[in-house]
């Protein structure tokens, strides 16, 4: 039986922008559907239209049905109970101050009696592994825990359909994987229908029954993930978002059941052949030294008397024209290190020496933190040469928009443009790939390279091994407050076993020269 179906569904916003263009599909109950596409392709709009109460205003035509009733006619109360919705930002979805209260929120809203709430809240907390934080303040949770809490709170109503709009885009890879695991368990154990829109497909595609690829409001591929290579052209821009095995399979012109996981890719004959045939030369040894702009020497940093030290004896040199990528898990001190380099935090001991008269620019995790004006143009126009900069970062069409109305990738570009207008000698970036799609990520790598080529130093801290492998000159692994290994991307990623790129995991032992598919591949 189908739970959601659409026929010739079109939707346009009041400003005339067409978001959906005659799409048709039919989703059977119990499916796990992944919707993907570049930012602005209409996947969020589609998901929101399915949920009564969140549907955007605009002109709708065609049919969208939930369980055989027109979606806009489903009573609000039924929609609240049966359709769960989890959004992108873990923080702003949370309403109350305590974990237990957040779990109970939806149950209180639909007016369940106290005893029933007590049972369900207990059940949810133990199912999602939230017992240890049950009585804690929400503010004390990590991003991953917050998002898990949002999922648990939606699941407490026992929904039949769960809609997830880029739920892992703000999470680090490990938290993202455990979130996806929890979603897939809900699907497997209870038959909850899952429709998830997501940029990060590496682990997701393997567990989906079906994938829908959207472009400009249309569905350009709607098939089982295994058939994706036959449905999606080899050089389509969405290919760069696909799991590494799919990309390699497609590069070899594969035209059948494509491998989805690294394991399948390593045993697939076509993939092996393609990987063996790849050539890449990597510069070995550390790059030659250039002018040192910032030198951090034996830093110790702590945030309080009773808290553990965040950085322990970390040293790092920032050199002109080089991109330094600091990788490391959550809480390893990456952001702290960056803030020390920017001079925002004073270390307990050790020193940060900035060369005289250099300009340092810092891009925070949330680019919105550096926006102060009401339009994109006002953010930029005070500086000479802003028009060229706007063009370089493809912002010309967005000049009158409010910075907060931009997509993740666009915000990132605006922030970069704003920072580069000051001609910084050092550019420091905190998790620049957070919340942006694969295409934006590839472009970001290009921008960073051109910035370094023009003589500035770039330091980025990131979870994203692919970005680091693609653009960095030096990579350093920060663990437990110190840099435990450092080297050129090739040496770095080929020596690391777990902390490495998917491409390296696929190619290991088959072609040891490969660490990434984009650069030198």
């Amino acid at each position: 039986m189908s739970i959601v179906s659409a026929k010739e569904l079109s939707f346009s916003y009041p400003d005339g922008r067409k978001a959906l263009d005659k799409i048709s599909f039919d989703i059977p109950e119990g499916s796990f559907v992944t919707v993907c596409g570049v930012s602005g392709c209409g996947k969020s709009t589609l998901l929101r239209l399915m949920k009564q109460g969140l549907a955007p205003h605009g002109k709708i035509s065609g049919v969208l049905q939930y369980c055989g009733t027109d979606s806009s006619l489903v009573p609000l109360e039924d929609a609240a109970r049966d359709i769960g919705f989890v959004m992108q930002d873990p923080e702003s979805q949370i309403v109350t101050d305590k974990v237990w209260h957040e779990l109970a929120f939806s149950l209180e809203s639909v007016g369940l009696p106290s005893d029933e709430i007590r049972r369900r809240v207990g059940e949810m907390a133990s199912y999602f592994g939230l017992e240890n934080v049950f009585e804690r303040d929400v503010a004390s949770l990590s991003g991953g825990q917050k998002q898990l809490l949002n999922l648990a709170s939606a699941a407490a109503l026992h929904p039949k359909l769960l809609l997830l709009d880029e739920p892992t885009s703000q999470l680090d890879p490990i938290a993202a994987n455990s979130f996806i695991d929890a979603v897939s368990r809900l699907n497997r154990d209870f038959g909850v229908t899952i429709i998830i829109a997501e940029h990060r497909l590496e682990e997701l595609l393997y567990i989906s029954d079906r994938v829908m690829v959207m472009e400009h409001g249309r569905i350009i591929a709607d098939c089982s993930p295994r058939e994706i290579c036959t449905k999606l052209p080899k050089d389509h821009e969405m290919m760069s978002a696909m799991p590494v095995s799919v990309r390699v399979y497609s590069m070899g012109g594969g035209n059948g059941n494509c491998p989805l996981s690294v394991r399948e890719g390593r045993t697939d004959e076509l993939c092996r052949r393609v990987v063996e045939g790849m050539k890449a030369d990597h510069p070995l040894g550390l790059p030659e030294t250039s002018e040192v702009l910032i030198s951090a020497h034996r830093l110790w940093v702590s945030y309080g008397r009773n808290t553990p030290d965040v950085l322990k004896d970390t040293s790092l040199e920032v050199m002109r024209g080089r991109i330094y990528a600091v990788l490391g898990g959550n809480g390893s001190g990456k952001t702290t290190l960056l803030k020390c380099l920017a001079g925002m935090i004073k270390p307990l001991s050790g020193s940060v020496k900035q060369k005289k008269n250099i300009v340092c620019a810092y891009l925070p995790q949330n680019p919105c933190e550096i926006f102060t004006e009401d339009t994109v143009k006002e953010e930029l126009f005070r500086f000479s040469g802003w028009e060229d900069m706007a063009e370089r970062f493809a912002l010309t069409g967005l000049l009158d928009s409010h910075p907060y109305d931009l997509s993740g990738g666009e915000r990132q570009r605006l922030a970069l443009a704003k920072l580069l207008l000051k001609n910084p000698d050092v550019l420091l970036l905190d998790e620049p790939t957070k919340g942006i799609d694969a295409c934006a990520k590839t472009k970001l790598g290009g921008y960073l390279k051109s910035i370094a080529d023009s003589g500035a130093a770039v330091v980025l801290v990131t979870h994203d091994t692919e970005l680091a492998a693609g653009c960095a000159d030096i990579c350093g692994l920060l663990f437990n407050g110190e840099i435990v290994s450092e080297g050129r991307p090739y040496g770095f990623f080929s020596e690391n076993y777990f902390y490495t790129t998917p491409a390296r995991r696929l190619a290991k032992g088959i072609n040891d020269n490969i660490i990434t598919l984009d650069i030198g591949g």
Binding site: D89, I117, M344, A361, P364, C368, E369, T372, K422
Partner: protein
């Protein structure tokens, strides 16, 4: 210690209202001494030892300063210039200081043991939405402060040293986020049905007994006061401690009341340390 933290909100509120009310309204030195000792004991048992030092300091300061302003009373100790310093004024100052320090002590204890979820229970009981509003506020205010600080730090790093700009950007960003929160509330059925209010606290047999005990001692103490217990006079001359039935009832009931929470903690500490003994025994 934990049983006090997990005590039922109703029990906590009745207790706090009674103990603070009596402390503030009585001028009887013995009742106030009981109150101050009870508050200090609970502070010590809760680990707030440093604050306890301030209680006698406040009392002494008040005893010293009151005669500077008040010159009533029959017993003149000495003359400062041509103004009399009287024993009654000193005593009144001391008792007043005792009242202030006892009330402050109980309030500090209340902050520790009457946590926000107990307030939410209380307000949620009266009007489910008010409990929710309180809970939202308790999340949003610290979040906003943290965010403004982050905005200000990040803008400082790019050379914008204008706190007002950071503040207004933070307000704007929070408003954006509030729209997501509103969506999230709607997605989870807010406003679709009559709201219920859930709380972790349950009023079971044990809680009823505790509540009855609290009500019993509070009612005895308050009625003793109404019947004239603890009517202590300072001016023109100190009336002396009364020994009537009402006075005795007040001292006993209020005395029990003031040490109740400390007894709960002590009792539990003893029980817990016994568990420790058993464990060590088992290890041998």
């Amino acid at each position: 210690m934990r049983s006090l933290e997990r005590a039922h909100p109703l029990c906590c509120f009745v207790y706090l209202a009674a103990v603070l009310g009596i402390t503030i309204f009585t001028r009887d030195p013995i009742a106030l001494a009981e109150s101050a000792v009870g508050a200090a004991l609970l502070l010590i048992l809760s680990g707030n030892i440093r604050i306890v030092i301030w209680l006698p300091v406040v009392t002494v300061v008040s005893a010293v300063t009151n005669p500077v302003f008040v010159h009533r009373g029959d017993t003149v100790l000495f003359f400062a210039g041509d103004l009399p310093v009287t024993a009654e004024a000193v005593l009144y100052g001391a008792v007043f200081g005792l009242m202030i320090s006892a009330a402050a002590g109980w309030s500090i204890n209340a902050v520790k043991y009457i946590t926000t979820d107990k307030y939410i229970w209380l307000f949620g009981r009266m009007l489910p939405v008010s409990g929710l509003v309180l809970s939202c506020g308790l999340r949003l205010v610290p979040l906003f402060i943290r965010r403004t600080r982050d905005f200000s730090a990040s803008q400082g790093a790019v050379g914008i040293r204008d706190t007002l700009k950071a503040f207004s950007a933070s307000v704007g960003y929070s408003a954006e986020e509030a729209m997501t929160s509103a969506d999230s509330m709607r997605a989870r059925g807010y406003g679709t049905a009559r709201r219920t209010s859930y709380s972790l606290y349950r009023l079971g047999g044990r809680e009823t007994v505790q509540l009855l005990a609290v009500v019993l001692v509070s009612v005895s103490a308050v009625s003793a006061m109404i019947c004239g217990g603890g009517a202590f006079e300072f001016y023109p001359a100190v009336s002396g401690v009364g020994l009537s039935a009402a006075d005795m009832l007040l001292y006993i009931a209020f005395g029990i009341m003031c040490v109740m929470p400390s007894c709960v903690i002590l009792h539990e500490n003893i029980k817990r340390s016994r568990i420790g003994c058993y464990d060590q025994g088992a290890l041998k």
